[in-house]
């Protein structure tokens, strides 16, 4: 359990050897595709065949710089950022308000409404994708950021409300009662006490929502038509369609689009892991 526990064992413990071998194999299984993608972006198409695993003989920086200096790469990331940010913001606002009501206000039909909302946990957005498309069209939101954002928020509500409600419920009720006696309104309490106290859970919900939105493909695919609005998962598919066999360019493009995710993950790994797994467990 402690740092010293394992090295302190006999030096040639066969169990330890197997353990290291096994971990090493799994690590290779995970890392090789990623490294091959990163390095492949620096090779020429021909070298991908002749030198699949090694470092590039000459580093073809143009593969990367060509993409970095093209408008489409930045446009795609920007679109993803806008969609994901609005999705997170709206989810946090709408879900935390509802969760507050379910946690702190006793009213007739409360549990019924809550189970109504948590029905959203039972099925994915894909089941209703065609009627959803028709609905978004009829609202005039087709081919707009909000045509993607609003359905994303709606389908993320169930999980978010459950997570937030559980946390809000654990905040002491006495505080609310005291505040109400002092003439504080529910909203003011929510805004100035509940939300500031709930930063950890808001961060968790925000992380889950952001990652899902940033990576989402089906909803944008169905709702968006103009390339200037495409988030990166759509953009990268278009790029691949365009450069079908020029794998060196596609690999460079994949690497660059994954870069923000990987950087963010390295910087905030604890929060992201905790957020994604905690969300899963508590949901």
């Amino acid at each position: 359990m402690s740092e010293a526990a394992i090295p302190a064992r006999r030096p040639l413990d066969p169990v330890l050897v197997y353990k290291i071998l096994f971990l090493g194999m799994v690590a290779l299984f995970v890392a090789v595709p990623l490294l091959a993608t990163l390095l492949g972006g620096f090779k020429t198409l021909g070298e991908l065949r002749t030198n699949p695993f090694g470092l590039p003989q000459t580093w073809e920086w143009e593969n990367y710089t060509g993409i970095l200096f093209s408008g489409r790469y930045w446009q795609m990331l920007w679109n993803s950022l806008v969609i994901a940010s609005f999705t997170v913001l709206l989810t946090l606002i709408v879900a935390s308000m509802a969760a507050f009501a379910f946690a702190h206000i006793r009213f007739f039909g409360s549990s019924m409404l809550l189970s109504y909302l948590t029905m959203g946990l039972l099925f994915p957005a894909a089941t209703a994708i065609l009627p959803l498309f028709i609905k978004v069209r009829d609202l005039g939101l087709l081919d707009s950021y909000f045509g993607v954002i609003l359905p994303q928020v709606a389908f993320g509500l169930a999980m978010s409300i459950l997570l937030l409600r559980r946390f809000f419920k654990d905040l002491p009720h006495e505080l609310l009662e005291a505040a109400l006696v002092d003439g504080c309104s529910y909203f003011a309490f929510f805004r100035h006490v509940t939300l500031p106290l709930s930063r950890p859970i808001l961060a968790t919900v925000g992380t889950i929502t952001f990652v899902h939105s940033w990576n989402s493909y089906l909803l944008p695919l169905v709702m968006l038509n103009s390339e200037r609005l495409y988030p990166w998962p759509l953009g990268i598919m278009i790029y691949q369609g365009e450069f079908s066999s020029e794998w060196h360019l596609i690999l460079a493009f994949i690497t660059l689009t994954l870069l923000p995710t990987v950087l963010l993950f390295i910087l905030a790994q604890k929060h992201i892991v905790a957020g994604l797994t905690a969300g899963a467990v508590k949901g």
Binding site: V82, I93, L142, Y145, S226, E227, S245
Partner: protein, 419 residues
């Protein structure tokens, strides 16, 4: 509350910046052209058009062929749809007209249509109204690599019958050459085999009878036989390894790289294979040959019948009138000749075909001119749903997961279900 207001304002601001177009008219044009050399000419056309029409801007947008077909049904439902769209005419066009998303451009085009090939214009005329203008016609046939044929000692001009083709495939295989490259993942390159066999076997009468549900419809003898003959070819394993995972572009690149002897192509792919080859040169003009689709024994169609496409531009409902003007400009004598000179298209502007410089395309232009029955691609002609099933089913014949009989039944079932 302040938070919400801010959000609402931000949202409103966002939609505003996205929604406001500049004061001038913008024509949005969605195209599928992947060949950079050709796109360059198109961009030049746009510049010239914009120079002549102050206040009009033409915005080009590109989608790859398969992505376009998958996206089109949703694109059409959007209010912000492009004004000018690519079309293969046929049943898909009819469905779009019935849906009321296309503009009737009969008056906008006026007499201009008389300057274009009547047959091609006919494809875009439904119930006496004109919905689009054609800019290119094409024929399906085998492109072949003369070097590889020479290596296997095959005389391409002797390939007249289906059995000749099968024999050539065997010879090529024996010589260690991949006989045919095909983009099986896109499916439609495979449906050419089935369709063209049906055209050869039954001619126009068989197709028209099937449309009326006579002679067993698409389960009838002609179509069953087409599947069986296709199966004969498939059983020889004539395609490159992994052909079901190749997109058409990849297959064209494969052919262009000289790795396969033949490709059942649309005539203008002769230019595309160059752009998609690894060296960007592909099979050069002098090494590239054409074989008319062979005639199976007992075929009732005429040898001069052709399978091919008519490609044009349709105008969506509510498009500014400048969109029609642009399409007319795009299909003007000058532009058509420019494109024909480099053998990118078989032009529809009467007389422009004289500019074709390659014997390959001149030959195709003659074939189409001489054809009494030019059958449009089934996957377009039979409408959006049935057409896709034809593609699915023929790809399954090629993959060995459906028998010709099952494939014919699947197509007939889809036909009965309608759209």
């Amino acid at each position: 509350m302040r938070f919400l207001t801010k959000l609402a304002l931000a949202a409103a601001g966002l939609t505003l910046t996205l929604g406001t177009a500049s004061a001038q008219t913008t024509v949005r044009w969605l195209h599928l052209e992947q060949n950079p050399a050709q796109v360059k000419i198109w961009e030049e056309v746009v510049r010239r058009f914009e120079a002549r029409n102050a206040g009009v801007k033409v915005e080009m947008q590109f989608l790859e062929n398969e992505a376009y077909k998958a996206k089109l049904p949703t694109v059409l439902q959007s209010r912000d749809r492009p004004h000018i769209l690519y079309s293969w005419a046929g049943g898909v066009l009819k469905a779009q007209i019935e849906a009321g998303v296309l503009e009737d451009i009969t008056t906008g085009v006026g007499d201009y249509k008389n300057k274009l090939s009547a047959g091609a214009v006919e494809a875009f005329t439904i119930n006496g109204k004109l919905y689009g203008l054609p800019y290119n016609v094409s024929q399906v046939g085998f492109m072949y690599n003369k070097d590889l044929f020479a290596k296997a000692a095959i005389d391409a001009s002797a390939i007249k019958s289906w059995d000749d083709l099968l024999a050539a495939v065997k010879t090529l295989k024996a010589a260690g050459i991949t006989p045919i490259a095909v983009g099986g993942q896109d499916k439609w390159p495979l449906h050419f085999y089935w369709t063209h066999l049906a055209v050869r076997l039954g001619g126009k009468p068989a197709f028209e009878a099937a449309l009326k549900g006579q002679n067993g419809g698409f389960e009838g003898e002609t179509f069953l036989k087409a599947g069986e003959l296709m199966k004969q070819l498939v059983d020889l394993e004539p395609f490159q390894t992994g052909f079901l995972g190749f997109k058409n572009q990849q297959a064209l690149g494969y052919f262009g790289d000289g790795k396969a002897a033949m490709n059942l192509a649309i005539s203008h792919h002769s230019a595309t294979q160059r752009a998609l080859a690894a060296d960007k040169k592909g099979i050069t003009e002098d090494k590239l040959g054409w074989i008319d689709f062979p005639m199976p024994a007992g075929g009732k169609g005429k040898p001069s019948d052709t399978l091919g496409g008519v490609n044009g531009w349709i105008i969506t409902k509510g498009a500014p009138k400048e969109a029609v003007e642009f399409v007319k400009f795009f299909i003007s004598d000058e532009v058509q000749r420019d494109l024909a000179k480099q053998n990118f298209i078989i032009p529809t502007f009467k007389g422009a075909e004289a500019a074709l410089s390659a014997a390959f395309m001149q030959n195709v232009a003659r074939n189409i001119a001489a054809s009494q029955y030019h059958q449009n691609f089934y996957d377009q002609d039979l409408g959006p749903s049935v057409g896709r099933v034809v593609n699915d089913a023929t790809a399954e014949i090629a993959g060995g997961s459906m028998t010709p009989k099952q494939a014919a039944k699947a197509i007939q079932d889809a036909f009965k279900q309608g759209n």
